[in-house]
């Protein structure tokens, strides 16, 4: 393997949403692509997610939401990240997100939204092309 530093990404399920098949598939794909994936489990509070990102010094946060609560929870997490001086950590959203909400999420500062059926290499390539914004 070349001397490339592994990107650290926290993949989080937030709120009352037990649908974790998608996040597990992405977890495995990123692991096999050489990422270090930190998975804290189901039913995370936004505060807990932000604490995990801070203490793990993550480069990226991926939020998986299939419960329709994205317009409540994602802004909340982004706000908490800002307060915790973590605004340079890249944020991805995955799951069931209606077309109409995607521009709003991007406007809020989400880097990309990946819906169902996204080819896994697309996510991997995106992260590789972006690299780390927190580590020079």
């Amino acid at each position: 393997m070349e001397n490339r530093l592994p990107l650290r990404i926290v993949l989080a399920k937030v709120g009352l949403d037990g649908h974790d098949r998608g996040v597990k598939i992405v977890t495995r794909a990123l692991r096999d692509a050489g990422f270090h994936v930190i998975y804290p489990g189901l039913w995370q509070a936004p505060e807990a997610v932000v604490r995990t990102v801070a203490d793990e010094d993550a480069d990226w946060l991926g939020i998986s939401l299939l419960s329709g609560t994205h317009m409540t929870l994602v802004p909340r997490i982004l706000q908490l990240m800002k307060e915790a001086r973590l605004d340079n950590v890249g944020v991805l959203v995955g799951g069931i997100i209606p077309e109409a909400d995607i521009p709003k999420l991007l406007e809020l500062g989400v880097a990309r939204v990946f819906g169902p059926g996204t080819p896994l290499p697309e996510i991997i390539d995106f992260l590789r092309s972006q690299g780390s914004r927190t580590h020079a």
Partner: protein, 299 residues
């Protein structure tokens, strides 16, 4: 840039601690960071939790952390999971079993990837322990990967090594295999609420009573039923701290020198090869060969 980071670290900036740990995990600027952080404090106990995959290491670490927080003791956890030697990737999932206390500054959990096949903990853990201790954590819990067998590195790092075993995992000969019983200070019969715990406890005790065994405490703990946790910590806290006693002075330097020699040996395979050949052809005794190797590496 490092100066700024260290200044923020000394100002108790948690993000600076997190970033320094990342640098150390990546093996970057080790000398400079090491020079900026005080030597390991003898006041901070480092407790390693080891045992096979699935035996409940993360769960027990989480329960111990909660127990310590309830007593007002601040805790840092270093949780190691395996990193693939093929892809370099890792799934760090120990947090799933650990308490989520987002508002609690007295708990810090860091997931680390340990290159599989090397040792049961990530590289440069010693310096990470010093960072966490200098930051002010009262106790450090070090969770190893689920390797368990043939590993003694944790004994060098930790003051107390707790080995977890669980009922119904194989015959008693398993425990005789190298690396398990010899590294541990306390053996925990984990999942003690399951059938077979008593039988396992008596088997382990019988093994330990054979001539030549060190004295090792055996305790039954059930994280699921919250049984035996307080007793376990009392026992841990009551043990003499192996590394605390030797962490200062000559022993610390010796360990540093050992590490340096090992690194140099790794990076000069070609120069060492002729010496190895001569030794293997028995042209040199082992003592002579070792002596020459030392000269070669310290040139």
């Amino acid at each position: 840039m490092l100066d700024d980071l260290v200044a923020r670290f000394r100002n108790h900036d948690r993000l600076a601690l997190a970033r320094l740990l990342t640098l150390v995990a990546r093996g970057e600027q080790l000398e400079a960071i090491s020079a900026a952080v005080e030597p390991r404090s003898s006041h901070t106990p480092v407790v390693a939790i080891t045992g096979n995959a699935g035996v409940g290491k993360s769960t027990l670490v989480g329960k111990l952390a909660e127990h310590l927080r309830a007593q007002g003791t601040s805790v840092a956890v270093l949780a190691c999971d395996p990193q693939s030697s093929l892809t370099g990737g890792a799934l760090l999932g120990d947090r799933v079993r650990m308490p989520s206390r987002p508002d609690d500054a007295g708990l810090y959990i860091r997931s680390l990837a340990a290159i599989s096949g090397n040792q049961a903990v990530a590289e440069h853990v010693e310096l990470m322990i010093r960072l966490l201790s200098a930051f002010g954590f009262d106790a450090i819990l070090l969770e190893t990967v689920g390797a368990g067998q043939g590993d003694t590195a944790v004994r060098e790092l930790a003051d107390v090594v707790v080995l977890l075993v669980q009922p119904e995992t194989g015959d008693e000969l398993q425990w005789e295999k190298a690396g398990l019983l010899e590294v541990s200070d306390i053996i925990v019969i984990h999942k003690a609420d399951l059938a077979g715990a008593e039988r396992l406890e008596s088997q382990v005790k019988e093994l330990l009573s054979l001539p030549g065994c060190r004295e090792v405490a055996v305790m039954r703990v059930s994280s699921a039923k919250n049984q035996g946790l307080a007793e376990l910590w009392t026992r841990i806290a009551g043990l003499p701290r192996r590394n605390a006693a030797i962490a200062s002075g000559a022993e610390q330097l010796l360990r540093r020198a050992q590490q340096l020699l090992a690194d140099r040996l790794q990076s000069h395979p070609l120069q060492v090869r002729p010496l190895l050949d001569r030794w293997q052809r028995q042209e040199l005794s082992e003592a002579q060969a070792a002596d020459e190797l030392l000269q070669l590496l310290t040139k």
